[in-house]
């Protein structure tokens, strides 16, 4: 079965990398995955969309995701900047990076304080808390994309050394805390 997710992040937050980590984790479990960034004139701070597709068999399509069953939001501020009803389908499940769980109409909402986790671990680059691994891990759990082991395995393809250790820690904490 084909599953389609949307990741909303701000340029520099690592939303694209998160979708790639999730694709790698799913592939480690023998499934097919696609991580698609939508590029335009985005720059640091702008809202960036990226897509994740998952399936048991090879995915043929390469177009953008139009009706995601799940939406991952990297900052609750994004919810104030977009037309929520236009971007996030009413029957979709939403995961938000936030210390408090926001209400989004009738949608099922999960949250995780990925910013708090990043700050606690000192995962800050150029003044920005790096939330992508925590969000990828929380999304993997909420949307049943891959196991924590596979997330950790996938992180090894993207980070090395000390940075890998800290990101693995962030992933573990987020996996445990998301609710």
């Amino acid at each position: 079965m084909l599953r389609e997710l949307l990741i909303l992040s701000r340029g520099g937050q690592g939303g694209v990398t998160a979708s790639r980590i999730l694709a790698s984790a799913a592939a480690l479990e023998g499934r097919w995955a696609q991580a698609i960034p939508e590029f335009g004139a985005e720059r640091r701070g702008a809202i960036v969309r990226s897509y994740l597709r998952l399936s048991d068999k090879r995915i043929l399509r390469h177009s953008s995701v139009r009706r995601p069953e799940g939406v991952v939001v990297f900052s609750s501020r994004i919810l104030e900047l977009i037309d929520v009803d236009k971007v996030i389908p009413v029957d979709s499940t939403v995961l938000v990076n936030s210390s408090v769980r926001p209400r989004l109409g009738g949608r099922v909402v999960y949250s995780v304080d990925a910013t708090g986790i990043a700050l606690k671990l000192g995962l800050v680059i150029a003044g920005w808390p790096v939330v992508n691994t925590a969000m990828a891990s929380a999304a993997a759990r909420v949307f049943n994309i891959a196991s924590l082991d596979s997330i950790v395995g996938a992180l090894g393809e993207y980070f090395r050394g000390k940075l890998l250790e800290v990101n693995v820690e962030a992933a573990k904490i987020a996996w445990g805390e998301v609710a």
Binding site: S19, R20, A23, S24, A27, W32, A33, Q34, A35, I36, P37, E38, F39, G40, I59, L60, R61, H62, S63, S64, R66, E157
Partner: protein, 394 residues
């Protein structure tokens, strides 16, 4: 064989590394830049022992590998859109000099307005020069086609440059699983380039590309022509050999999708072909006997395969992402010439400037085409229409 999730651009760079190229020239342009950046990393880390030449323009990027290839080296460069157009003059020098250069073209619209998204106008605009032009439809195929390009281009029966086209962003920046062969297996399958009978090197001199009699110009073009004809055969051979060796499906010039019992045929190329195949699948569930022929190569044009496929159906729909202004879609024009009026052809121009085309779009286009044919409305031999659902009346 291990499976790794790679971006299209990274997959191409990985294939270049495994092909063990000697010289790479690099000039950046979105959405291609990541390919040459990745290769720079590989050279820096010593994973690829190649001479990496940074140049000041695309014209020079091709000129550098032209010289290197003439001296017998295996070479690579990559570009896109305006960069490819800036190479235009050199494309012809390379082709007429019969140098097996491999170049990735990450397809992107040509401005104005400035647009970084994919259509096929850049790659198809240069189709007459004498380059073999392939179109990948997945990240894995971009990897495969890059390796195959060296075997095809360097084959003695061919000796032509090869362009590996992959759609900007929809393939270049999309990550998908790739079944990566072992490097040792690739080295065995793709041995070093055969030494030339002559060599451009310090101390030995002869002229290349000098002024010649008119007849020589024409003969050279005739040699390119014959090499292109032979390239069809070599591509078929290499595709099958690669598929057998690395456990892939054996598509050569054309990938056929449910064409066996099809009454209607959809023809297209590139990353959006998968969306069209999904649409054909949905339509089959609704009782429409639709098949898809995806062109893996536009030059040489797979005339034999297409003639056979097209003349065994009621009507053909060609969906083009590039136009020959004043005539029709580029692939449609070629297909119409190939089928010589023996079958009704409808042509749709879509997805220019990277306009997103999903399975639902293809479904509505294909369904409309079948219904039009069955109601007797497609009475002439070809039509070109533009698919722009956001404009009223289109």
């Amino acid at each position: 064989m291990k499976v790794k999730v790679l971006m299209g651009n990274t997959a191409v760079a990985e294939a270049v590394r495994m092909a063990d190229v000697d010289v790479v020239s690099a000039y950046p342009i979105t959405p291609q830049t990541i390919i040459v950046e990745r290769i720079a990393d590989m050279v820096e880390r010593g994973e690829l022992k190649a001479r990496y030449v940074r140049v000041e323009s695309e014209h020079s990027a091709l000129a550098v590998v032209y010289g290197a290839s003439a001296s017998g080296a295996r070479v690579f460069t990559a570009t896109s859109s305006h960069g490819l157009l800036y190479m235009y003059e050199m494309l012809w020098w390379v082709a007429n000099s019969r140098l097996p250069i491999v170049m990735a073209v990450v397809t992107r619209a040509i401005g104005p307005p400035w647009n970084i998204h994919s259509d096929h106008q850049d790659a198809l605009t240069v189709r007459d020069a004498g380059w073999i032009i392939g179109f990948a439809s997945s990240v894995e195929e971009a990897f495969d086609m890059t390796l195959q390009a060296y075997r095809v281009g360097e084959d003695r029966r061919v000796l032509l440059p090869v362009m590996v086209s992959l759609d900007g962003f929809t393939l270049s920046h999309t990550s998908e699983p790739v079944r990566l062969p072992e490097e040792s297996e690739v080295r065995e399958w793709l041995p070093p380039r055969e030494p030339l009978p002559f060599k451009l090197e310090p101390g030995s001199y002869f002229s290349v590309g000098n002024l010649g009699p008119d007849e020589v110009t024409m003969e050279l073009r005739w040699y390119v022509w014959r090499a292109m004809e032979r390239a069809k055969h070599v591509i078929r051979e290499v595709s099958v050999d690669y598929a057998r060796r690395f456990d892939r499906s054996t598509h050569s010039l054309v990938e056929e999708f449910k064409t066996g019992d099809a009454r209607y045929l959809v023809v297209l190329a590139g990353a959006w072909s998968g969306d069209a195949m999904e649409a054909a699948d949905m339509l089959r569930d609704e009782g429409y006997p639709v098949g898809v022929a995806r062109l893996r190569y536009i030059r040489p044009f797979p005339a034999e395969e297409l003639r056979e496929l097209a003349t065994s159906v009621r009507a053909v729909l060609v969906i083009d992402r590039a136009v020959s202004m004043g005539h029709m879609g580029v692939i449609a024009g070629d297909l119409v010439a190939t089928t010589r009026g023996k079958v009704v052809v409808k042509n749709i121009i879509a997805g220019l400037g990277g306009v997103d085309m999903g399975p639902e779009d293809f479904k509505s286009i294909i369904k409309g085409f079948v219904e039009e044919y069955e109601s007797g409305a497609l009475d002439s031999w070809f039509y070109t229409e533009w698919y722009m659902p956001w404009v009223r009346g289109r």
